[in-house]
């Protein structure tokens, strides 16, 4: 799995709530049998017209915004369990998603792929949106080791929660299968009960 420790980057703001996984990657693009290539269809129907022309007013088509951090409204990733949503975001070049609230399955899927979901307070989220609106080049620093996200322009920061085990997986790049397989004898013992 991809490792993550620290990142400083500009952000791409998507100030919409309840962004579901059908928006992140519509079902018609789930027919691939590998994990790669989903990025080009990330937010497909918000990003392109039906005739494939880019929609100029969508943030991913606006050269003003760039960076490896996606910032979105609350309840991000609700809906389907498709891991393709996490793959698409990652494939499009993002390493971090920040929101004030994440849907459970999306959050787990992101963590299992080395895409860091960071839940911040509504106030801090608003701070980010306001700062980016005023200056699209503002950058954030995400420090996983210290579990803190910093708005560099003002120095305002907020700490975030992450399960200690998941944190070590991200920092070291190992995954749940490695972890469970190392304890296979326990599983076989359990089955005998």
């Amino acid at each position: 799995m991809k490792k993550f420790t620290k990142l400083t980057s500009a952000v791409v703001p998507l100030n919409i709530e309840n962004i579901d996984t059908d928006q992140i990657i519509p079902a018609r693009f789930l027919k691939a049998t590998t994990r790669e290539g989903f990025g080009e269809n990330l937010f497909r129907d918000w990003r392109y017209e039906n005739d494939n022309r880019p929609k100029a007013d969508f943030v991913l088509n606006d050269p003003t915004y760039s960076g490896q951090i996606l910032v979105a409204g609350k309840n991000f990733g609700c809906g389907s369990s498709r891991e393709h949503a996490a793959w698409a975001i990652q494939d499009a070049g993002f390493d971090v998603v920040i929101s004030s609230f994440f849907a459970d399955i999306f959050k787990g899927n992101a963590l299992n792929n080395g895409l860091l979901p960071i839940q911040v307070s509504e106030d801090f989220l608003k701070n980010i949106f306001t700062a980016v609106e005023a200056n699209p080049n503002v950058d954030l620093t995400v420090d996983l080791e210290n579990q803190v996200v910093i708005l560099n322009e003002t120095g305002v920061s907020e700490s975030f929660e992450i399960n200690a085990y998941k944190k070590s997986c991200l920092i070291n790049g190992y995954d749940d299968i490695d972890f469970i397989l190392a304890q296979k004898d326990l599983i076989e013992e359990f089955e005998k009960k």
């Binding site: 100030n15 919409i16 709530e17 309840n18 579901d20 059908d22 928006q23 519509p26 079902a27 018609r28 789930l30 027919k31 691939a32 049998t33 590998t34 994990r35 129907d45 039906n50 409204g73 609350k74 309840n75 609700c78 809906g79 389907s80 369990s81 498709r82 891991e83 393709h84 996490a86 609230f101 849907a103 459970d104 399955i105 787990g108 899927n109 299992n112 792929n113 509504e122 608003k126 399960n163 200690a164 085990y165 995954d175 749940d176 299968i177 972890f179 469970i180 397989l181 304890q183 296979k184 326990l186 599983i187 359990f190 089955e191």
Partner: protein
């Protein structure tokens, strides 16, 4: 110590619990389908691992399959490839597949229960968020991502933190024309599309206990639409009667043993839930959604809530949703013309749903402006419908009875709602583009969908039911 139902089942499946780590949870049954499994099989190949317990895994093809001429090769190349991959992967890893043409094929959440694979007290997972459906039997069942599918393939376990528990108690009597779908749409409208996140929800109370297994499945199915990964109902006589005699259900001595265990599966009277909500079934009207998440629902006679009544930071998203739907603030939906009616999906495609619709449309005919698709949940449901003569009723009404699959719930096959068209759908999600690019979905019960089909407009089904009796 007293325990909730979730805790009883969870604790019985913990292989290892260690401070600071998620539990290692043993999974009894793993259901798979063609869309979320290929990358997991690939992962196994890369690691050089077999499927650890292939006999505890069951596969079917449902998301991509056509619902007409199913035995012909799938026309759409990528869909065909994905379904073929499932066949190859199952053969290579020794997994039982109920693929196209098999009498057990169907939507993964319909076939598990009808085959007696879904049982009380089990842990079940599937790479599909509607796995919560199986909780209707008093099982811990939840959707997982593809990395976790690979994890279960490799170890028959998942690393999972114990969820918080919520009890939703629904007491009282449902009104005429109001059913399980209305109950769940009502609950979601009350607590929002995120209101259950982090919880497993136990549904209880007299209105839930009175429901059939099919109806209970409809409710548990949509737990995820309020963010809850799992929803469940304590098993009772209705559950046991449903299971007895099914294909893979325990029989003979095994049945007696299983039954004795199942009867211990309830939340203890003084068990502590992290949250408890209570509702009165009598308050529920036939429900319909007006927006682009399942929390945007209302009683069918109500008006769409005004944007100005929404919290400040939600106004933008709310207005975006109404714009997408082409609806105005404070408007009534009654009388609004409808283009499509879809009766199907893992929420409402079981035999009881089809019977209810057939009973209602008998001697009626669909309106000319509406296309009606009825997509049964499985080959067994389809066959049962034919055996009972429901197909004839649908045909006479101008409703098209198709072959089983997920179909227009998510439009991965050819069954798509055209851009801008309105579809009253018995499925579970009204997200933008869910049923086709720019399609507009209104979620409702099978009865409300059938009422729209015969009148051609959004209709309060209770008025039609009264006419029949009056």
């Amino acid at each position: 110590m007293s325990k909730t139902l979730v805790e009883k089942i969870w604790d019985a499946h913990v292989v290892k619990s260690e401070e600071g780590f998620p539990d290692i949870l043993y999974i009894d049954t793993h259901l798979i389908h063609e869309v979320t499994s290929p990358q997991a099989f690939d992962g196994l190949r890369k690691r050089g691992l077999p499927v650890f317990r292939p006999q505890q895994t069951v596969a079917t093809a449902d998301h991509n399959v056509p619902t007409l001429n199913q035995l012909m090769p799938i026309k759409e190349e990528l869909s065909r490839y994905q379904v073929d991959m499932l066949t190859k992967n199952c053969a290579e890893f020794g997994i039982e597949l109920y693929g196209l043409g098999h009498p057990f094929q169907g939507i993964v959440h319909v076939i598990g229960p009808e085959l007696g694979i879904t049982l009380p007290g089990k842990t079940m997972v599937c790479g599909d968020s509607h796995t919560s459906t199986h909780g209707a039997f008093g099982a811990i069942a939840f959707g997982i991502g593809t990395s976790q599918v690979e994890q279960v393939f490799a170890t028959q376990c998942l690393l999972q933190s114990k969820p918080k528990t919520m009890k939703i108690e629904m007491n009282g009597q449902l009104g005429k024309g109001v059913g399980a779908k209305d109950i769940i749409l009502y609950i979601i409208a009350q607590i929002s599309a995120a209101g259950g996140t982090g919880y497993f929800i136990e549904y209880a109370g007299s209105a839930i206990e009175a429901l059939s297994m099919e109806a209970r499945m409809t409710i548990c199915n949509m737990s995820i639409e309020m963010g809850a990964r799992g929803g469940l109902i304590a098993p009772d006589k209705i559950t046991f009667d449903y299971i007895k005699g099914r294909e893979f259900a325990p029989a003979g001595e095994d049945w007696d043993k299983a039954l004795a265990y199942w009867k211990t599966l309830y939340s203890d009277a003084d068990a502590k839930f992290d949250s408890v909500l209570t509702f009165d079934a009598a308050d529920i009207a036939p429900m319909i959604t007006y927006g682009t998440n399942p929390g945007m629902g209302m009683g069918i006679q109500e008006n769409i809530p005004a944007t100005k009544a929404q919290p400040e930071k939600e106004k933008l998203s709310y207005q975006k949703a109404l714009d997408y739907m082409g609806f105005d603030d404070d408007a009534s939906l009654i009388g609004k013309p409808v283009d499509y009616v879809f009766i199907g999906s893992c929420t409402n495609s079981r035999i009881e749903d089809l019977r209810e619709v057939a009973d209602f449309v008998k001697d009626k005919r669909k309106a000319n402006n509406v296309t009606v698709w009825i997509v049964p949940g499985s080959k067994q449901v389809e066959q049962q419908a034919i055996n009972e003569g429901l197909d004839k009723i649908f045909e006479a009404a101008g409703f098209q009875l198709r072959e089983p699959g997920c179909s227009a719930c998510l439009g991965m096959n050819e069954d798509k709602i055209p851009a801008g068209k309105y579809c009253v759908s018995t499925s579970n999600r009204n997200f933008e583009g869910r049923q086709g690019q720019n399609a507009r979905t209104l979620l409702a019960s099978p009865l409300t969908a059938a009422a729209a089909a015969v009148t051609g407009v959004i209709t309060d089904v209770r008025e039609l039911l009264e006419k029949v009796e009056g």
